[in-house]
Symmetry: C2
Subunit: 281 residues, 2 copies
């Protein structure tokens, strides 16, 4: 890293750097290294093992897209489970839906929650909402053992290695199916289709035999390498575009900066190389 910049290197071939103002904290948890820095131009960043998870400037894009797509497809989401997402940004967007009565956050690393609460209130403030329950522990184990059911499960994880590895496996998704209600939906962070197409292809192969509906959608993350980033979408029956009603978005009048009903449908249009790749068996 050069002086004055904080650089995220990716696959050894590309790096994204942010102008550093000051380092705020850095702590090695049992799972990973958690870091908060202040930048010039992008506000504060939360980094895990050197990868940018949240930038205050553009976190709204990721969090609006991971939350509102499933929550506006489900006709009346009441119970939502977020796995990972200890920064609180996804919970913040989930709780904008008045139908949501309860949002459980299953985060493995308490250091992520503490760091965000202390240094990134923009995302973490939602964690103090009375409808949110924080469960510090392994999300895979939580899903295996809970007797609760959820309308929407959101897998807001890091990349498929380290503590997040099992979140990209079939056993986990069979458990997710079990805890989903009849109209249940699960969406998951699915990596960069441009640089690591294997992640989304593998997720697709895992989801297809478990869920009647599986698809992928895209968004542009300004501060992640390559810009183009994907989520997977799977459900017990609800289709992400056909069963989506734009009128509900209009009625909800949420104060959003990225998501709207046109963006919802557009996000499921996949570039040709990705369509070709995902249609291969």
């Amino acid at each position: 890293m050069s002086s004055g910049w904080i650089d995220e290197e990716y696959q050894g071939i590309v790096r994204t750097g942010f102008r550093l103002k000051r380092r705020i904290m850095r702590r090695r948890s049992p799972f990973q290294t958690v870091e908060v820095v202040e930048t010039k131009g992008h506000g504060r960043l939360l980094l895990i093992d050197g990868m940018t998870m949240v930038s205050e400037r553009d976190e709204f894009v990721y969090h609006e897209m991971i939350a509102h797509v499933p929550l506006f497809v489900h006709p009346r989401p009441r119970r939502v489970l977020v796995i990972g997402g200890g920064d609180g940004g996804t919970v913040r967007e989930v709780l904008r839906h008045r139908s949501v009565e309860r949002c459980v956050l299953a985060e493995i690393d308490p250091v992520v929650v503490e760091a965000s609460r202390r240094h990134i209130p923009r995302t973490a403030a939602s964690l103090s909402d009375p409808r949110c329950e924080i469960r510090i522990g392994d999300g895979v184990k939580f899903v295996r053992e809970t007797r609760e059911h959820f309308d929407v499960v959101i897998v807001d994880s890091t990349e498929p290695f380290g503590p997040a590895k099992e979140l990209f496996g079939p056993a986990f998704y069979r458990d997710v199916r079990r805890i989903l209600t009849d109209e249940g939906i699960v969406v998951s962070q699915a990596g960069s289709p441009f640089y690591e197409i294997a992640t989304i292809r593998n997720l697709r192969r895992i989801l297809r035999p478990i869920f009647p509906i599986s698809d992928a959608y895209l968004f542009t993350n300004q501060t992640y390498p390559g810009g183009l980033w994907a989520f997977s979408f799977a459900s017990k029956g609800l289709r992400p575009v056909r069963d989506f009603r734009a009128a509900r978005v209009a009625r909800a009048r949420l104060p959003l900066r990225w998501y709207n009903s046109e963006i919802h449908a557009a996000a499921f249009a996949l570039p040709q190389f990705l369509k070709d790749e995902l249609s291969r068996r």
Copy 2:
């Protein structure tokens, strides 16, 4: 720049770096500094004044989106003018359309054309097509003085300063309207809505009084800062989505990797912050 990387710094707050294999050429032309390097992971890059214009790995996204959107809206594009674009990538995509009889490239800087021909044949090979005529000179002057008419004009320029400055002014676009045929369309590189929203807002203000139809569309450029990038679209009457026929794309069977008919429509879905910004007068 650190050793081993070539970094593009943007607005002093963010930078994108590519792992360098070797520097191939660097030349100061009367207009700008033109540079070609070989990277690990992204093939060759063409840089102008330190900004990445073309990466062999992902140039197809930009070039497919700037060319096929207008060429598939126009019912039968025969004559096309490309302003800038001396690397040849846009011309390559234009010439995939069998209806195109003639494509004029008006590039101000012969060094860009020479560097691309010599070092980036993937984009520049199309410049030798007999349907392509290269006019080295000022595109603004060409548009002001030509008596030829075009069905589609593509402004494939650098950012709105240096030699490209006048390409972002009203006088230029009034001349473009004059040389467009009755169903004419003009699209233009319109910057990063995330980092420099003024570029697209100003273009919109210029285009609106000159053309009955004006709009904007988006794509993700993996190697440009911020990922999200915009083109403006303006026409004498053709509407970019309503007058677009997906069946034509299917019939053409072009060997494309990014553009398809779903992507065409989806590209015109704008995020809420940009819709709000562009609807302000």
